[in-house]
C-alpha cells in the first residue's frame, strides 16, 4: 500500500472537496463527513482510504470559516471562536482577504502541528498522561476566565458565559446522569444540540438583525475592495499579513497543538483559548482570526499525537479514525512505530501534502465562490440563509422540536446582539460549561469533596496560579485603562 499513487492523490482531492462541503454548510460537521464516509472507506485500499480521510479532516475544520465569512454561520464549532472577526473582515475588506488569512494560517498552523507530531509524539503523549481531572479543571477555567476578560464589558461577558453554561446544563448531568431542566419533555433529555445553538445564535440572529436594521431606500454603496482580484487579496495581501504576524502564528500553533493533544480537548477549545488570548492583548480582527484559525488546525494534528502513540483519541474525529485503524488490522500505540513505521511515515507525508496543497487550493476556490455569492442582493441572500438554517437544523436529528429551539435561541441571539452582549462567549460557555462541571464533579467525588486536592499536584498548582495571575493582571489592566490619562 502506498500513499504516493495517483489513486491516493485523487482520493485526497475528492476527500478535501467532500470535507469542504460538509465543513461549510451549517448543520453538517466534520464528524458527520467521516461517519458517512466510513462504510465506503472499509472497501478501499487502506492507503486510498486514509488519503481521503486526511483530505476530509484537513479541510473540514478549515471550511467552517467559509460559512462564517459569507453568512456569519460557522460551519464547525471550531470556527465559532472567531466568526465575528472573520465575518467583519469579509464585509469591510473582502471575503478573499478574510479567507486568505484563514487558509494560509490554517495551512501553516497545521504544518507546525505536524512537525510536532513527527518530532515528539511519544514524549508529548507522556505529558498528556500527567493530566488528571484537576489539571483539566484549571485548564478549562483558564479558557473561561480569558473569555470573560476578552469581552469589552466584563459584566456582559459574564452574563453571556452564564447563559451559555446554563443552557448546557439542560439534559443529563455529566457526572451523575441526573436529568435536569427538561420539564418532563423527552426532547430535552439529551440537552440542546450544539449545532442547533450555533445556527440559531449566528445564522437566525444575523438574519433577524438585518431585518431590524432594514430601511427603505437606495441600497448601500458597494464596498470598493470587493472588486479587487481574488488572487491578489487571497495570496498577496493575506500572505503579507500572515508573514508579518509569523510570531503570533507560531505561538498560536504551538498552543493549539498542545491543547489538541490533550484527550477530550480538541480543536474547538484550542481555537477559543488562542483567539481569546489575542483579544485580551487587544489584537486586531485579523490577528484574532489568524490565531484562531492556526491553532484549531494545529490542534487537528495535535489530536493525532495521543491517537497514534497511545491509541487514545483526542476528539470524536480521531476516535472514528482509530476504529478504522483497528478494522484494517493496524493497532495504534507505541508498537505502531516499531511494526508499521513505513505506514506512519507515509501518513505524515500525506498530512503535509494535504496542508500544503489542499487548504490553499480549497480556500481559494471558496473565496472565489463567496466573491460571486456576495454580488447577490442582501435581501435575497439573507432569505436563502434562513432556508439553509431550517434545513441545517432539521438535518441533524430530523426532529421538529429543534425548530422551536431555533426560534427561541435565535430571538435570544438577536436581543443579545442588539444589547451589545458577546454571542461568541455564550457559545464558548456551551462548550466549556459541561467540561468544567464534569471535571469539577469528578474531582470532588473522587476526593470526597476535599477542595484542597485541587492544589495537590504540581501541574494543577501551576495552572491555578496561571488563572490567578490572569485575573489579577486583567483587573489591573482594566483599571489602568479606565483611569483618565494625565494632562
Amino acid at each position: 500500500m502506498s500513499f504516493f499513487s495517483l489513486e491516493s492523490f485523487i482520493a485526497m482531492i475528492l476527500g478535501a472537496l467532500y470535507g469542504v462541503l460538509f465543513g461549510s454548510l451549517p448543520g453538517l460537521t466534520a464528524t458527520l463527513a467521516i461517519s458517512l464516509f466510513i462504510p465506503i472507506a472499509i472497501f478501499l485500499d487502506p492507503a486510498v482510504a486514509f488519503s481521503a480521510i486526511i483530505g476530509i479532516t484537513a479541510t473540514a475544520i478549515f471550511a467552517g470559516d467559509i460559512g462564517a465569512t459569507a453568512m456569519r454561520i460557522p460551519g464547525t464549532p471550531a470556527s465559532a471562536a472567531y466568526t465575528e472577526e472573520i465575518h467583519q473582515i469579509g464585509k469591510e475588506r473582502s471575503p478573499a482577504f478574510a479567507l486568505g488569512i484563514s487558509a494560509l494560517s490554517s495551512a501553516l498552523g497545521s504544518l507546525v502541528g505536524i512537525a510536532i507530531l513527527i518530532g515528539g509524539s511519544l514524549g508529548l503523549a507522556q505529558v498528556a498522561k500527567q493530566f488528571s481531572s484537576f489539571e483539566y479543571f484549571w485548564l478549562v477555567l483558564l479558557g473561561i476566565v480569558s473569555g470573560v476578560f476578552a469581552s469589552p464589558s466584563m459584566a456582559k461577558g459574564l452574563i453571556a458565559f452564564g447563559v451559555g453554561m446554563l443552557i448546557a446544563t439542560i439534559g443529563y448531568d455529566p457526572a451523575l446522569g441526573t436529568p435536569r431542566f427538561n420539564f418532563g419533555n423527552p426532547n430535552l433529555l439529551g440537552g440542546i444540540s450544539f449545532i442547533v445553538a450555533l445556527i440559531a445564535f449566528f445564522g437566525v440572529a444575523e438574519v433577524l438583525n438585518n431585518i431590524y436594521s432594514y430601511r427603505k431606500g437606495p441600497p448601500p454603496a458597494p464596498n470598493p475592495n470587493q472588486n479587487r482580484s481574488v488572487a491578489q487579496e487571497f495570496f498577496g495581501a493575506a500572505g503579507r499579513l500572515v508573514w508579518r504576524e509569523r510570531r503570533l502564528l507560531l505561538r498560536s500553533s504551538l498552543l493549539g497543538t498542545f491543547i489538541g493533544f490533550l484527550p477530550g480537548a480538541g480543536s474547538d477549545l484550542a481555537a477559543w483559548i488562542s483567539s481569546n488570548f489575542t483579544r485580551l492583548r487587544r489584537g486586531s480582527k485579523e490577528q484574532v482570526t489568524l490565531s484562531g484559525a492556526s491553532s484549531n488546525n494545529a490542534a487537528v494534528a495535535g489530536t493525532w499525537i495521543p491517537a497514534l502513540s497511545l491509541g487514545i483519541p483526542g476528539d470524536t474525529l480521531t476516535a472514528i479514525v482509530l476504529g478504522m485503524f483497528l478494522t484494517m488490522g493496524i493497532t495504534p500505540g507505541p508498537d505502531l512505530f516499531a511494526k508499521n513505521l513505513g505506514f506512519v511515515v507515509q501518513l505524515y507525508m500525506a498530512f503535509i501534502l494535504a496542508s500544503l496543497l489542499m487548504m490553499p487550493l480549497v480556500g481559494y476556490l471558496g473565496a472565489a465562490l463567496i466573491s460571486t455569492l456576495l454580488r447577490i442582493p442582501l435581501r435575497l441572500l439573507l432569505g436563502a440563509v434562513m432556508g439553509l438554517c431550517l434545513v441545517g437544523t432539521y438535518a441533524i436529528n430530523r426532529n421538529p422540536f429543534d425548530l422551536y429551539l431555533l426560534v427561541v435561541l435565535g430571538l435570544l441571539g438577536l436581543l443579545m446582539q442588539r444589547g451589545g452582549f458577546p454571542v461568541g462567549q455564550l457559545i464558548l460557555g456551551m462548550v466549556l460549561g459541561p467540561l468544567l462541571e464534569q471535571y469539577l464533579m469528578m474531582s470532588l467525588i473522587k476526593t470526597q469533596w476535599d477542595l484542597t486536592a485541587f492544589f495537590s499536584r504540581p501541574v494543577a498548582v501551576g495552572l491555578a496560579v496561571c488563572n490567578l495571575l490572569l485575573i489579577v493582571g486583567m483587573l489591573w489592566l482594566r483599571r489602568q485603562r479606565a483611569r483618565p490619562s494625565n494632562p
Binding site: L21, F22, L25, L28, L36, A155, K156, L158, I159, G162, V163, M165, L166, T169, A175, L176, T178, R180, F181, V207, L208, N210, I211, Y212, S213, Y214, K216, P377, L378, R379, L380, L382, G383, A384, M386, G387, L388, L390, V391, Y394, A395, R398, L403, Y404, V407, G410, L411, L412, L415, R418, G419, G420, F421, G433, L436, E437, L440, M441, I445, Q448
Partner: protein, 147 residues
C-alpha cells in the same frame, strides 16, 4: 444617555436574572449525593449566583443613567413586527413539514423571509426555487444526507 442598545441590554439582563432565579429554585428539587452534598444542583446554583449578580449590577447601572425612556423611543417597531412575522413563519414550519415536506417548507420560509426583507415577488420566488433545488442536489443527491 440615549442609546438604542439600552432597551435590549435591559431586556437581556431581566431574562438572565429570571433564568438565574429559576435555575436556583428548580435545582433545589435535584437529588443530593449519598454524603448529603449538593451533587447535580451544585453547578446550576453557582451559575445562578453569577448570573444574578452580573445582571443586577447591569440593571442598576442601566436604570441609574438618564435617558432610558428616550432610548425606548428609538426602537424600530415596524421592523420588530417584521421579525415577528419571520419567527411566526419558522414556528409554523413543524406544521408545514407534515403538509409540504422539508423542501416545500424551506422554500416557503425563504419566500416569506425575502418578502419581509423587502424583496419583490418575482425575485423572492426565484430565490425560493433556487434554494429548494440547491438543497435537493447538495444534501439529498450529492451528500446522501437523509432529510
Amino acid at each position: 444617555m440615549v442609546n438604542p442598545a439600552r432597551p435590549f441590554e435591559l431586556l437581556v439582563c431581566l431574562i438572565a436574572l429570571a433564568l438565574g432565579l429559576a435555575a436556583w429554585f428548580i435545582s433545589d428539587t435535584f437529588p443530593r449525593t449519598a454524603e448529603g452534598y449538593l451533587g447535580p444542583a451544585l453547578f446550576p446554583k453557582l451559575l445562578a449566583v453569577g448570573l444574578a449578580a452580573a445582571s443586577l449590577g447591569l440593571i442598576y447601572r442601566n436604570l441609574r443613567l438618564p435617558g432610558l425612556a428616550a432610548s425606548f423611543g428609538l426602537l424600530a417597531w415596524g421592523n420588530l413586527l417584521r421579525i415577528g412575522g419571520v419567527l411566526l413563519a419558522l414556528l409554523l414550519t413543524p406544521w408545514a413539514l407534515d403538509k409540504l415536506g422539508l423542501l416545500g417548507s424551506a422554500g416557503l420560509l425563504v419566500l416569506l423571509s425575502c418578502l419581509l426583507l423587502g424583496a419583490r415577488w418575482l425575485e423572492a420566488l426565484l430565490t425560493a426555487l433556487f434554494m429548494v433545488a440547491f438543497v435537493y442536489v447538495v444534501f439529498v443527491q450529492l451528500l446522501k444526507v437523509p432529510l
